[in-house]
């Protein structure tokens, strides 16, 4: 008979407040095969673990069930404790009494009875558990970083500086991301490009970093320590090994009116272009959608201009494969455009801008060289209105969350405007001012008190154009709802930060979770903010949720440390949750009949054919065999097997069956 030890945790009061833990321990103690059952305030604490270790030795336990929090939280903790006491760790299971019971039910008889059932299920399961050995796999010590904004740059540099190789993939022709578009940064007002460009250059020159710009991830296969990434290098149409970056082709390109992405649509660029003067790499690509040659088959002026013959018209996209051990996702965010706002003119008014467009106006490298001028007529706006929460905190528009960065950048915008237009009047319509951060509140106060920005608490109902002015219909809710109408020359919307386009598809390629707004999901909201649910894939920056530069940089360094920690091992220990095909004594050898349904079901090509031969070497039959290095343990093969010959360790038919039956057989 089994000798199972059961340990019920109070979790402080998290479990014991609604579940009668003593009764659980008492009733389970009376179950057949249970040798020892206790309850304790904190099973995960040092004394709690010591109870388990001592009980394993004292009672010679051959199985342990801990009734506590979610196994996703503490399964490794308790398995380690068992291993330390000499019990095979895979003979330890957890019953989820907190997330699945005490936190979701009121204190009642039923709640305690459910808790008893949950523990019982695992006791029955553990009786069928078999000792397993963990699987060791090698680690490829090279990281893939996706996205070359400040998050990707920081993560790449930090990993590279620990001595490991990094592949950095950027979708655009240059790294730099949104930070390169910003004018000055809050709360210090230092120039964004001045602090960013040195890091961009460092990335380009770092011996451990291989940079692929104008490239996208095509697919990712494998698992932690052993990923295989296919990367699409989009055709740049320019040979970078010969191109000197002289820029003559750009001067001569006749297609000059393409809205510049870097200038958020406020300036123009050519068809062969470098996104901005400080780009890394500082070499052009041809935008084939807009190029005369690709559109109409004639032009080639750039080719004639190029002294070194670098134009490659027939270049095609190339797909390369890189083997990496870890992935850092740093794909950033995007902002909603002005066309998202019916009440502010559906984007049809030229002088209604997004915050990002205002950054370009305020930036010395922008289309107006840092002067604040109206896109419509080039005039300096004397009255300007900033509208905070444009689209954010707006469930009607499908964005209920706070975009977090807008309060601060709006204060910065108003401040920059007042510094540049001394006789100007600026008004900020806001709902709340969220300025949590070092020196942030002080920064906002400075805007209000020293730079005389007029802060009005209320949302703007509509904006319309009349006689070259923008009529802003707002309200001052602090005056009991007094309507405020401003005839403005320019309106800046602090538009909501949203997930970058394509993030959903990317998440699906990588099998990481994402939230309803397509931001990537962290593994735990508090304790695992840079991990994803998929081992070996980490998050950095605004692809997880809108965040500002310091937070992004901190998170990127955090992700880099996780990667470095992973790379500090030569081998990884993997859970032995893999499929196995049964092997029996001759003359049966296996119940597998060799139908290979499992092979068709397997997403990892982990099923191999094995010839079973008799003593005389003659072929008895073909049978399936699982390559444990490739198997990821999904178990789809098990459901497909008609002869019940394949099973998955840790979730065998026998174990699952025992679990279910424990609920029903009374």
């Amino acid at each position: 008979m089994s000798k199972i030890g059961v340990f019920i945790c109070h979790c402080g009061e998290n479990i014991s407040a609604t579940v009668d833990v003593e009764r659980v321990a008492r009733e389970i103690g009376g179950m057949e095969g249970v040798a020892h059952a206790i309850d304790y305030k904190y099973m995960c604490s040092d004394p709690g673990q010591t109870f388990i270790k001592e009980a394993v030795k004292k009672y010679g336990l051959d199985g342990v069930v801990v009734g506590a929090c979610s196994p996703r939280m503490h399964e490794p903790t308790f398995r380690r404790a068992c291993a330390e006491a000499g019990l095979n760790p895979y003979l330890c299971e957890m019953a989820n009494l907190r997330e699945h019971c005490s936190w979701v039910h009121e204190k009642s008889e039923e709640t305690t009875e459910k808790a008893i059932d949950l523990v019982k299920m695992l006791v029955e399961k553990v009786k069928k558990n078999k000792p397993l050995d963990s699987i060791k796999v090698p680690v490829t010590k090279k990281a893939l970083v996706i996205g070359g904004g400040i998050a990707g740059i920081q993560a790449s540099l930090d990993i590279a500086n620990t001595g490991h190789k990094v592949i950095l993939v950027e979708r655009d022709p240059s790294i730099g991301g949104h930070m390169s578009q910003l004018s000055e940064t809050f709360p210090t007002l230092d120039c964004s490009q001045c602090i960013l460009t040195p890091r961009m250059v460092e990335v380009a020159q770092h011996p451990n970093i291989k940079l692929y710009t104008y490239a996208e991830l095509e697919s990712l296969e494998g698992f932690i320590g052993n990923f295989k990434a296919k990367i699409r290098l989009k055709a740049k149409s320019v040979n970078y090994s010969t191109c000197t970056g002289c820029g003559a082709c750009i001067q001569k390109c006749p297609v000059k009116k393409i809205p510049s992405e870097f200038n958020a649509g406020l300036g123009t660029r050519t068809a062969i272009y470098v996104p901005f003067p400080q780009a890394v790499p500082n070499k052009p690509v041809i935008d084939r959608v807009n190029c005369n040659y690709y559109k109409r088959g004639a032009c080639k002026i750039c080719e004639k201009t190029c002294q070194v013959g670098s134009i490659e018209w027939d270049k095609e996209d190339e797909i390369i494969t890189e083997e990496v051990g870890a992935v850092v996702l740093a794909t950033g965010f995007d902002v909603k455009g002005t066309d998202f706002f019916p009440e502010y003119g559906y984007g049809q008014y030229k002088d209604v801008l997004t915050g990002l467009q205002f950054e370009r106006l305020a930036s010395a490298s922008g289309p107006t060289f840092g002067e604040i001028r109206r896109p419509s007529d080039g005039a300096v706006p004397k009255k300007i209105v900033f509208i905070a929460c444009a689209g954010s905190r707006d469930p009607a528009k499908g964005i209920p969350y706070c975009s977090k960065i807008c309060c601060m950048y709006t204060a910065k915008h108003a401040m920059l405007y007042q510094h540049k237009v001394h006789d100007g009047e600026s008004t900020v319509f806001y709902m709340d001012i969220r300025a949590g951060g070092k020196n942030y509140e002080e920064f906002v106060r400075r805007a209000i008190e020293e730079d005389t920005v007029n802060y009005v608490r209320g949302r703007v109902a509509r904006v319309y154009e009349k006689n070259g002015k923008l009529i802003v219909k707002g309200v001052d809710t602090l005056l009991g709802g007094e309507q405020v109408e401003i005839e403005a020359d320019m309106v800046v919307l602090a538009t909501a930060g949203v997930a970058n386009c394509g993030s959903e598809q990317l998440a699906q390629k990588l099998h990481v979770s994402y939230d309803p707004y397509h931001f990537f999901a962290e593994a735990h909201p508090k304790l695992k903010p840079v991990e994803t649910n998929t081992a070996g894939i980490y998050l950095a920056g605004a692809c997880q949720a809108p965040k500002d530069i310091p937070e992004t940089v901190g998170m990127a360094s955090g992700a880099a440390v996780k990667v470095a920690a992973l790379f500090s091992n030569d081998e990884l220990v993997r859970e032995p949750v893999v499929a196995v095909v049964n092997r029996l004594a001759p003359p049966l050898y296996s119940t597998c009949v060799g139908c290979f349904m499992c092979e068709t079901a397997c997403p990892y090509n982990a099923i191999e054919h094995e010839e079973i031969k008799g003593r005389d070497g003659s072929l008895i039959r073909n049978s399936a065999r699982v390559n444990q290095g490739l198997c990821q343990g999904c178990g789809t093969c098990v459901a497909f097997c008609r002869s019940k010959s394949i099973d998955i360790q840790g979730y065998t038919n026998e174990q699952v069956y025992a679990e279910v039956m424990s609920l029903l057989n009374d």
């Binding site: 989820n96 009875e113 998929t534 029903l664």
Partner: protein, 154 residues
């Protein structure tokens, strides 16, 4: 419809580890309340779920079953949930044939971010099964399984 206010149905949820189990964890972290009738059995993936096990559950007296995993395209293992869905479609007709009301099986997708969806799924299923009443025809299923020689204990 008869009133079954005293009837507490026994419902077993077969869920995947990556999406729905984590989603149900989130329900807990968010302290959303739901009925106590449902007990979760954790699987690596809905692709692992053998529908004969569901039959076995009914044969042994379950009143209802929930199967829930990742949304289409979001499977941790690429395609396990698709296999499960395809198998479920085939399996439905078998159930029908054997006299199991398919309304007793709730097939759903709950992601790791959908804590409130899990609470709703549980509460709705409990209400539905309670309205259907206790499952009484289990002997039919038991006989069928015996005939097919499906016996896990062996």
């Amino acid at each position: 419809m008869s009133s079954n206010t005293d009837f507490e149905p026994k419902i077993i949820a077969f869920v995947c580890n990556w999406c729905t189990y984590a989603g149900a964890d989130l329900t807990g972290t968010s302290r959303l309340k739901y009925a106590t009738n449902v007990k979760i059995v954790r699987f690596p993936c809905t692709g692992r779920i053998d529908f004969l096990l569901l039959l076995k559950s009914f044969a042994q007296g379950a009143d209802g079953v929930i199967v829930s995993g990742c949304h289409p395209n979001d499977c941790h293992y690429t395609s396990g949930n698709f296999h499960a869905r395809r198998r479920w479609i085939a399996f439905r007709s078998v159930l029908d044939l054997m006299g199991v009301d398919i309304r007793r099986i709730q097939y759903s997708w709950v992601s790791a971010a959908e804590g409130s969806k899990w609470a709703d799924l549980v509460n709705n299923t409990v209400a539905d099964i309670r309205a259907l009443g206790p499952y009484a025809e289990y002997q039919k299923v038991a006989d069928y399984l015996e005939k097919e020689g499906y016996n896990e204990e062996a």
